[in-house]
């Protein structure tokens, strides 16, 4: 084989893409011909070095960009009739949502029983002996009153009283969390009172203009009253309260402990704070979650600022201690 023929085979020889006889022929030529061997060595080195070219990781922001693009494309595809609106996933979403609601109900019921569990033995004894059977319709039982009170606080927290919704101050959020915790402690103390005679002084009302002052704080004694586990016995004595409010509180009394409401309130608070901070940007909140460390983590993708500068970057914003912090490229930055 001549040199120019060998040159045509150098690449497949390097890639071992020749049949056995051709491989042997090229090998024999290379051992005899210095020029071709030189050329082979140079190409081989070049190929080896190209194989060591660095790989660049996909930037983190790409995930956010792609997700947004796919979302938009999906909507367009639904519009164009390429895919159905109610896909498997959305059906699953409904099923899982129903399951989640059911789970919350079960947990609420379980937590409720936990609180009942700390009642003094005599209360349990009375309940078991039937002394108190049929009293579930009592106008005010100890626990329903407590839950009403708690719910009242949370109702005000959620509606913000006469404050603008979602515009509570940092100090107020902390005060409210402390107050809710104090309520829980008070509930434990009260439920432990002898003979079911529960009396408690009104806690200091720290919520300005909460609109539920004395009535919310007072707890009336119910002699021999057994906590109504279904909370059906709730009867509002304050005529000033509207039916809606009463109904909300009744619902709230069925829900989980005040911790859940606290999270909802802090979520609203940090979301509004984030909206305020990012008001000069076009952005999208991709996800938010409440972590075990007691902080809200928001994944935010910022497209561009109103000054026209394009960012197209994803950042993590953490809401904790009434403040927001941004994490970008592993660095913590204030907001």
């Amino acid at each position: 084989m001549k040199c120019n023929e060998i040159r045509e085979l150098l690449s497949p020889y390097i890639d071992e893409a020749l049949d056995e006889s051709e491989m042997r022929e090229v090998e024999a030529h290379l051992s005899a011909c210095g020029d071709c061997r030189n050329e082979y060595n140079e190409i081989k080195e070049m190929v080896d070095l190209l194989g060591q070219a660095p790989m660049v990781p996909v930037p983190d922001e790409f995930r956010f960009r792609l997700r947004k693009g796919l979302n938009e494309e999906k909507q367009a595809m639904i519009k164009d009739g390429i895919i159905e609106k109610r896909s498997i996933r959305s059906r699953w979403r409904i099923i899982t949502s129903v399951a989640a609601v059911f789970a919350v109900g079960v947990i609420s019921f379980g937590l409720y029983h936990d609180i009942i569990g700390v009642l003094p033995d005599q209360l349990n004894d009375k309940a078991q002996s039937g002394e108190v059977r049929g009293e579930s319709a009592a106008p005010r039982t100890a626990d329903t009153e407590l839950y009403s009170q708690d719910a009242g606080v949370n109702y005000d927290m959620l509606t913000g009283g006469n404050m603008a919704p979602g515009r509570v101050s940092e100090a107020q959020v902390e005060d409210r969390q402390e107050e809710a915790e104090r309520m829980e402690d008070a509930a434990r103390v009260m439920l432990g009172a002898p003979d079911g005679e529960l009396k408690m002084a009104a806690p200091p009302n720290q919520f300005p203009n909460s609109g539920a002052e004395g009535e919310e704080a007072s707890v009336q004694a119910v002699e021999g009253g057994v906590p109504d586990q279904t909370a059906e016995g709730v009867s509002r004595q304050d005529d000033a309260n509207t039916d809606d409010e009463a109904s909300f509180r009744k619902e709230a009394s069925r829900s989980t402990s005040s911790g859940v409401e606290r999270e909802m309130t802090s979520e609203e608070y940090y979301t509004s704070l984030l909206e305020e901070k990012l008001k000069d940007f076009d952005y999208q909140i991709l996800s938010k979650e409440y972590t075990q460390d007691g902080e809200w983590r928001f994944q935010v993708f910022i497209f561009y600022g109103k000054d026209g500068y394009t960012y197209n970057e994803g950042i993590t914003i953490i809401g904790k201690g009434g403040k927001l912090e941004a994490i970008h490229s592993g660095k913590v930055m204030g907001l």
Partner: protein, 190 residues
């Protein structure tokens, strides 16, 4: 469940419009696809644009994908076509940024793997690689793309023939010609 079964399941769900399944599906080839686009387009921003455009095209046209062929090869083919389209569209624009430069024109340090040998040898190898990559720009687009696919990303002749939609014979001769031409360019640089 084998990899193929899992992939088929994800394709099935993604065809029905499930974005999460689609994201899982492309995760395996995303890094390679991004680096291919980066070699074609030479900057991260354009590479991300090409990748985004390609993935959205794939999402939309997934129903046309024949499940007896390889999904990743199909993805790379679309990425390569998208990059070529972008290059054609931008042919009048300045395309001179090196992938080793960021938007701020500062040098980005990208470590080269396999640091066997002395630091001097590693440095020497790194410099040589950078030099060869910069010389790719002197090749025609056709020659450059085959070097990117074969020598940088290590695709087989069969895979390249699928990605570029040409025969294996064409792939072989194009690889040979492109390498010989690149060697000539390197000799001219010395």
């Amino acid at each position: 469940m084998t990899f193929d079964q899992k992939e088929k399941q994800l394709i099935h769900k993604a065809k029905m419009g499930d974005e999460q399944s689609f994201e899982s599906l492309i995760l395996g080839c995303q890094n390679k696809a991004f680096n291919i686009a980066l070699r074609y387009l030479k900057n991260e921003e354009d590479a991300m644009d090409a990748l985004q455009e390609s993935f959205i095209k794939i999402f939309r046209h997934l129903k046309t994908f024949k499940e007896d062929s390889r999904f990743d090869t199909w993805v790379y083919r679309i990425v390569v076509n998208t990059c070529n389209d972008m290059l054609r569209k931008n042919s009048n624009q300045k395309i001179t940024d090196s992938i080793f430069k960021t938007e701020d024109e500062k040098e980005t340090v990208i470590e080269i793997p396999d640091p066997s040998g002395s630091p001097e040898e590693v440095f020497d190898r790194k410099s040589k690689t950078e030099h060869i990559i910069s010389c790719l720009e002197k090749l025609s687009l056709e020659q450059k793309e085959i070097i990117i696919l074969r020598d940088i990303h290590g695709f087989s002749y069969e895979e390249i023939s699928e990605i570029l939609n040409c025969s294996i014979g064409t792939v072989k001769s194009r690889i040979n010609r492109s390498r010989l031409r690149l060697r000539e360019i390197l000799l001219e640089q010395k």
